[in-house]
């Protein structure tokens, strides 16, 4: 344990405990933050990092424990008190009003409500000064709805700085950034520290933690399991502290590529708002392979997934199946072609929260025998199928008649996985299949995807996690602004080289060298 100099302590958390029903999200967590320090708060999804920060900022009320800022105890559950004490938080999900300008979003709440007008020009001057000081390029008069994700994040940071925040909390700020944008963010963080601010940086990416933090605090299952100077640890030790055990990478057996089951031939799809469509994309999904799709989120992955899943048809170019180009491309046609999907958002598009497990298990199969005959549902067959999925895929639940809303993310995902894989599909579309899962569920999902591959299926794995992509994929494509890179074999490119592609360099039509 590192002892922080008492006079330098700007923030102190004392035995914070928070329970949600039976789950203890934070279990007696205590640590100090010193002036000019960057603490990395490290932990897996569900370890309690975000909960802890929401307590600190007053969004949640802690069941026990207290928060002290500059020696003053913060009243619980009052974001206003936290703001006034100098705590600024950049949430993982941005808290910006899209229909207002950057300036309006920043000024919101900083001036007394009951007065005429607000000092736009003074506010603009201050914002521009902060933009200059901290290297946060953004136009104060732009409408937030038109900004990129990286720019929105800068607005969030500006919001905190505009209020003279002395402590900056960044909740998984890099999850939405390209490696280059991450570098810019780190530069901003270093400037903030140089100005005497303190930063809590939440992440589960180890290389970022080692790059930026001076101290690291590790949470696991709601408990603080380690606190150390970053310099004293290497990545391997950090990983072990985070997951609590040595994590063996999945054993990858040699792939046996089969025939091309789905091919994209110069396919383009329309842009959807800020999300780009595909731009003359070429790729082949072969049986017996895992095809990894690396890229920063919002670069056309959604369009690709919707295309393969039959939700959209190519605007130009062709989508070719094993037995020719389909005349009509719809979700039903995709299912008929043996394409099964693990959707990106299991809550929104994967399940229906208030349906039970049985109803959710047959969501894509209900119209076919044995689940329905001549327009009548056979619930007996559906229940048998669900029971089989529950047993084979280790779905922990009170029973098949439970509403799926009550299951944890991991168990929900296992049910979806079972529903997909039990039909022995030719093609598995796995879009972010392990997002938000704990290490046990994650390993399980990966093993099942590998098993599907070994059975001869083509698995398209779309993920923002480069480590996941490189560990599992036999073939890797990079997607950037809707463009697909050529196919790279396993181990053909280093992580750094893939990062260059992810940042949008190297594609055809690129004028400057990467």
């Amino acid at each position: 344990m590192t002892k922080t100099d008492e006079a330098q302590v700007v923030l102190r958390l004392s035995s914070i405990t928070k329970r949600f029903g039976k789950l203890t999200a934070n279990d007696a967590i205590s640590f100090d933050l010193a002036k000019g320090e960057v603490i990395a708060l490290l932990g897996e999804n569900g370890a309690g990092k975000t909960t802890l920060m929401n307590i600190l900022f007053g969004h949640y009320t802690a069941d026990e424990g207290e928060v002290e800022v500059f020696g003053q105890r913060l009243p619980p559950s009052q974001p206003k008190a936290a703001l006034q004490a100098g705590v600024g938080m950049v949430h993982q999900h941005f808290t910006l009003a899209d229909n207002m300008t950057v300036l309006e979003n920043i000024v919101l709440g900083t001036e007394p409500l009951w007065r005429m007008g607000f000092g736009r020009s003074a506010a603009r001057r201050r914002i521009l000064a902060l933009v200059e000081d901290y290297g946060l390029r953004v136009d104060p008069d732009a409408t937030v709805g038109s900004l990129t994700v990286g720019e929105r994040q800068r607005v969030e940071i500006l919001k905190a700085l505009y209020r003279d925040a002395r402590i900056l909390i960044l909740d998984e700020p890099t999850a939405v950034l390209t490696p280059q944008e991450t570098e810019d963010l780190f530069a901003t963080m270093r400037k903030a520290v140089a100005h005497g601010l303190s930063v809590i940086f939440i992440s589960h990416k180890l290389h970022e933690v080692t790059a930026i933090s001076s101290r690291v605090v590790v949470l696991r299952h709601g408990k603080l399991v380690a606190e150390a100077r970053t310099a004293d640890l290497d990545r391997h030790q950090l990983a072990q502290m985070m997951v609590g055990a040595e994590v063996p990478p999945p054993a990858v057996r040699e792939a046996a590529p089969g025939e091309v089951l789905v091919a994209l031939e110069g396919v383009s799809t329309p842009d959807r708002g800020a999300a780009p469509g595909l731009k003359s994309a070429n790729m082949a999904l072969r049986g017996g392979q895992i095809i990894g799709m690396a890229g920063v989120s919002g670069n056309g992955q959604a369009a690709l997934a919707d295309l393969i899943g039959g939700l959209i048809a190519p605007a130009s170019g062709r989508l070719r199946l094993k037995d020719g180009v389909p005349s009509d491309w719809s979700p039903r046609a995709a299912l008929a072609a043996g394409i099964a999907r693990i959707p990106e958002d299991r809550h929104k598009t994967g399940t229906i929260a208030d349906f039970d497990l049985t109803e959710n298990a047959v969501l894509e199969l209900y119209a076919k025998p044995p689940f329905s005959r001549r327009g009548w549902m056979d619930w007996g067959a559906a229940r048998d199928f669900t029971q089989k999925v529950i047993e084979r895929y280790d779905v922990r639940c009170p029973g098949a008649e439970t509403r799926i809303r009550l299951l944890s993310g991991g168990n929900m995902q296992k049910l979806i996985l079972g529903r997909v894989l039990e039909t022995a599909p030719d093609v598995v579309l796995a879009n972010q299949p392990v997002r938000g899962l704990d290490i046990g569920a994650l390993t399980y999902v990966h093993e099942q995807l590998l098993a599907a591959r070994d059975r001869g299926a083509a698995v398209l794995l779309i993920s923002e996690d480069l480590d996941e992509i490189t560990a599992l994929s036999d073939v890797i494509h990079v997607i950037s602004e809707g463009r697909l890179s050529p196919a790279f074999g396993r181990g053909e490119l280093t992580t750094a080289e893939l990062g260059v592609w992810m940042a949008g360099h190297g594609f055809e039509g690129e004028t400057h060298a990467a």
Partner: protein, 314 residues
């Protein structure tokens, strides 16, 4: 070309502006609620309450402006009920709104019977009289239409400007619009979403009630059942028509009122002899639907409209 004659007559435009006035009040009230993220379907009932409360206050001997204040207060009371159920309790805004309309309407009729058990035709009051603004009212066509109206009509137009300024030029308006767009942003900036939304619903409901009071205190001079007659629902559509902007909503109200004034007059022309009068009664609504379809194409709905905000839940 009798229609042309009607369109260039001053009396037609005077009538249109008069018909538009209650709609302007109520639509502004609805706009304030919706900009903060709360759909207020209590509008129809709240207008009935306002119509009754304002009229009753004057009938019992109060001044006209006291009547307006009483109407406003009665509307705010129902706004308080609506807000409490939809904002801190987060109940369905549809169900609560329709419930408020039913409750407010029935309660008003009940109070009417309690107050005046014996009357067969409701008593008239000494209502607001047209006030001609010197010089301006002498302008041809525009003068009589805009500057020979009752003080309440002038108030409606002034309120459009006030609401616009508050929404777009003050920190309060910023917070209100943000509450309707992304309440989490308001919360994260240390403001209370609950307070802002409650305040908006109460003030908005107060404006709706004044819209109702216009009917008894500036148009019909008396209170009778069914007098609001769906005007509240029209205002819900006017807000959409106006893309949640006060100026455009005013425009919509005048447009609808002009259709309404026109159909009455066209009925009395030679056209009216050949066509069943029901067609004319329908016309403003059909034209409004068409206008709505065209205007709301690019409307920017407040993103958090009808989404309850629960602190600590994400």
């Amino acid at each position: 070309m009798e229609i042309i004659d009607i369109l260039i007559s001053a009396s037609f435009w005077t009538a249109a502006i008069r018909i538009a006035s209650p709609l302007i009040f109520a639509a502004l009230g609805e706009l304030v609620c919706e900009r903060a993220g709360v759909l207020n379907l209590g509008i129809e009932g709240i207008m009935v309450v306002g119509a009754f409360a304002g009229w009753m206050a004057v009938y019992l001997g109060g001044g006209l402006w006291l009547g307006v204040a009483v109407a406003m207060a009665s509307g705010m009371l129902f706004g308080l009920l609506h807000g409490t159920l939809t904002v801190p309790f987060g109940l369905s805004q549809h169900v609560v709104g329709l419930g408020i309309t039913l409750l407010a309407t029935s309660l008003t009729y009940y109070c009417y019977r309690l107050a005046l058990p014996e009357v067969t035709s409701p008593p008239k009051i000494e209502a607001f009289q047209p006030f001609e603004i010197p010089l301006l009212s002498d302008i041809p066509l525009v003068g009589p239409a805009l500057f020979s109206q009752t003080p309440l009509t002038y108030l409606a137009f002034v309120l459009v400007i006030v609401v616009t300024v508050v929404l777009y030029r003050t920190p309060l308006g910023l917070a209100l619009r943000a509450a309707g767009e992304n309440p989490a942003a308001v919360e994260a900036q240390g403001l209370s979403v609950t307070a802002i939304r409650m305040g908006a619903v109460m003030v908005g409901s107060g404006l709706m009630a004044v819209g109702g009071a216009f009917l008894t205190m500036s148009a019909f001079n008396s209170f009778f059942f069914e007098m609001v007659n769906g005007r509240g629902w029209i205002c819900i559509a006017l807000v959409v028509f106006g893309s949640w902007r006060p100026g455009k909503t005013l425009l919509g109200a005048v447009l609808f009122a002009a259709f309404d004034a026109l159909q009455i007059r066209v009925q009395q022309t030679s056209l009216g002899a050949d066509i069943p009068y029901q067609i004319f009664l329908m016309a403003p609504y059909i034209l409004s639907i068409l206008a709505l379809v065209i205007m709301s194409r690019r409307a920017q709905v407040p993103a958090a409209l009808m989404v309850p905000f629960n602190k600590g839940e994400r």
